[in-house]
Amino acid sequence: MGFIGKGLFDGMVVTARNFVGSYFDRERLVTVQYPEERVQVPENSRTFPFLVFDEDKDPVGTMRCVACKICEVECPPQCIYIVMDRDEKGKPQQRPKVFDIDISVCMQCQICVEVCPFDAIKMDNDYEKSQYGRFDELVEHLPDLLKSNEYYNRIKPTEASRVDAKLKADKEKKAKKAAPAAPKPAAAPAPKPAPAAAKITIPEDAPFTPEQREWLGKFLVTAPVGVASTAATPAAGQPAAPVAGSAPAGNWPWHDPALGMQQRLDLAKNKPLADLLMAAMAQTDCHACGYDCRGYADAIAAGTETDLSLCLPGEAETENMLKRLMEGSGKV
């Protein structure tokens, strides 16, 4: 039976039922009483990055991070700041002395996690980060960032077990071969800046004819180093890498992890073999190989190092290039 305004009264009945029901039926109340109760956040939710270490006894010692600075370079809003640790003699250590993440800048994109070859940085799901200040208080330092693998397993069991299995497999492979077998990280490879089609440095949309383009490319390659590197950096479509602490040597224009492999090789063209080899490295000075990039290249060129698969950040690309270069020089 319908009469005018029946819908209004039906609505009032519904709300009255809700009102009374909410006192008797706890199931109806969807609100979570936050400080006392918490919602179990989904496993794949993410907030800000943290650094994984393996053993509780020695968080700094068993930290997976080797201060390779790939994440610092790749971070789109540039919220990561890394300084590599050095011992008294100034020899670089494979761990960061300073590792800061400004979480007021971080946009939680997870790119640092994607590019890390060591599974050292992962996304947290802790959302209680409020502070009383807006500047220094929101910068997380190394002690705040370090969290155990156990914690990682707790918050993201599926992902962490996969990572653990992979790391174990790598370790076993390494132990079994005890030799040149390169651990192939299963993690997604770092997105490589594709070598520009028109030689190197000129953007696709720059208003040049093909001839001009060619000339410019040649000019920029052969031009004085400063010009080339400044021009080359934006051309690769990557943010300029502020490699704090380790000033790029003036005569290594390719020593810039933001460049593509082809660009680096072009920059090192007509240089000695060691320079070419160095240009093939990932340029992060990560010391995964036991040297810095220059040292590794020198060692290969000098013949003291025969394993060409040690450059972890460079992955297969670097390994293949190193092989080709060595074949070309007739040493292998």
């Binding site: 005018i4 209004l8 609505g11 009032m12 519904v14 709300t15 009255a16 809700n18 009102f19 029901g21 909410s22 006192y23 109806r28 109340l29 969807v30 609100t31 009483q33």
Partner: protein, 388 residues
């Protein structure tokens, strides 16, 4: 007030008369200023709790047990908030508006009898006074909206003025029906006319056909007048941010809210007086015990009206602006006029059963006709093209 004066004269026979007069003036004022703002504060709490429960939430429950200190916390917070005045605002009017918003609302309580023989001032033009005062409240909204120099504020103010002026008319006409039946404009006389019958209940006007229609009309009008939710067009937050109080913060904002709620409570009090029997209820009457009981009944009914308001706010969607005026002028106003004729029937047909039949039939038939006329189009059930 006069009764207090006489009582005081009996109790303190040697005190000077002028002192007693001032005391007897001060007592009702203090009573109004202490009780009704308290009711206002806890109405906000009850409203938030009830709305929460209606939406299957808890509502405020942090400050004190069951959030019982929430109004105090709100007040403190608003007191210490920064008071912002827009740079190009009309500073003086901007300051004046919230003050003016409260005054008419408080004045309204002067004519509401809260118990048998308990009324601040028994004006013989009580109802007219109430309407005159409540009209003035629209000025505060207008001043606030205009002085802010903000388009949304101004839009809200214009809407408020148009709405209040339009809904005033059916509301007054609904009250005219009661005034006709009682033969007096005094609120005390109206309340007294509803006493008697079985348990002091059956002679409430709401239990008569014309009284019921008048009650519905008056409640709708009162809701629109105090801009409560189905008619909160002047401050529709999804359309014009907050309407006339967009540019208000801190305690000025609190004053606006207070004026609005006090007006709503006072209107509920007048509705109770005019239609729900006022302070009449089982056991109410003269004497201390009857007086206390009558006060209890009045405040119980007032609470029921407030809860009804909250319930409606939690349920019904907002009226569309373009339908608002049509509803007032095409449905409420003719219905109020028809209702006045119904009171005439009621008055002259002294044989009650016949009067019941005639007035009911008259009202029902006109209701049908009006709804037929007001329906602009044939509304069919909605069909969904993309959603199943």
């Amino acid at each position: 007030m006069e009764t207090i004066h006489q009582q005081l004269r009996i109790w303190f026979a040697n005190a000077p008369d002028s002192v007693l007069l001032w005391v007897s003036i001060a007592i009702p004022i203090l009573f109004i200023l202490s009780v009704f703002p308290g009711i206002f504060a806890y109405t906000t709490l009850v409203e938030r709790k009830a709305l929460g429960r209606i939406q299957n939430r808890f509502g405020p429950n942090r400050v004190g047990r069951w959030g019982i200190l929430q109004p105090i916390a709100d007040g403190l917070k608003l007191l210490i908030k920064e008071d912002i005045v827009p740079r190009r605002a009309d500073k003086f009017v901007h300051f004046l508006a919230p003050v003016i918003a409260v005054i008419p609302s408080v004045l309204l309580f002067a004519v509401v009898p809260i118990g048998a023989g308990l009324i601040p001032v028994d004006l013989n033009i009580g109802i007219l006074f109430a309407f005159a005062i409540s009209t003035a409240s629209v000025l505060a909204l207008f001043m606030g909206g205009w002085a802010s120099r903000n388009k949304f504020s101004l839009l809200g103010a214009m809407r408020a003025v148009a709405q209040v002026v339009s809904y005033e008319v059916p509301m007054v006409l609904a009250a005219v029906a009661v005034v006709m039946a009682v033969g007096s404009l005094s609120t005390v006389a109206i309340a007294k006319a509803q006493s008697g019958g079985i348990l002091n209940v059956t002679r409430w006007f709401v239990f008569q056909p014309w009284g019921f229609v008048g009650f519905v009309l008056f409640t709708i009008g009162a809701m629109a007048e105090s801009a409560r939710t189905p008619f909160d067009i002047p401050e529709a937050e999804s359309e014009i941010i907050a309407g006339y109080h967009t540019e208000y913060s801190g305690f000025k904002f609190a004053l606006f809210q207070m004026g609005e709620y006090l007006a709503s409570i006072a209107m509920a009090g007048i509705t109770v007086t005019m239609f729900l029997g006022g302070y009449n209820g089982p056991g109410s009457g003269p004497g201390i015990f009857g007086g206390l009981l009558s006060m209890f009944w009045f405040f119980l009914k007032l609470g029921c009206m407030i809860v009804l308001n909250i319930w409606i706010r939690g349920t019904w969607p907002r009226v569309r602006v373009d339908q608002l005026m049509g509803f007032a002028w095409k449905v409420l106003l003719p219905m109020a006029i028809v209702n006045i004729v119904a009171v005439g029937f009621w008055h002259y047909l002294t044989f009650r059963p016949l009067a019941w039949v005639v007035t009911t039939l008259w009202l029902v038939i006109w209701f049908m006709v009006l709804t037929k006329l007001a329906a602009t189009e044939n509304v069919k059930p909605r069909t969904y093209r993309y959603a199943s």
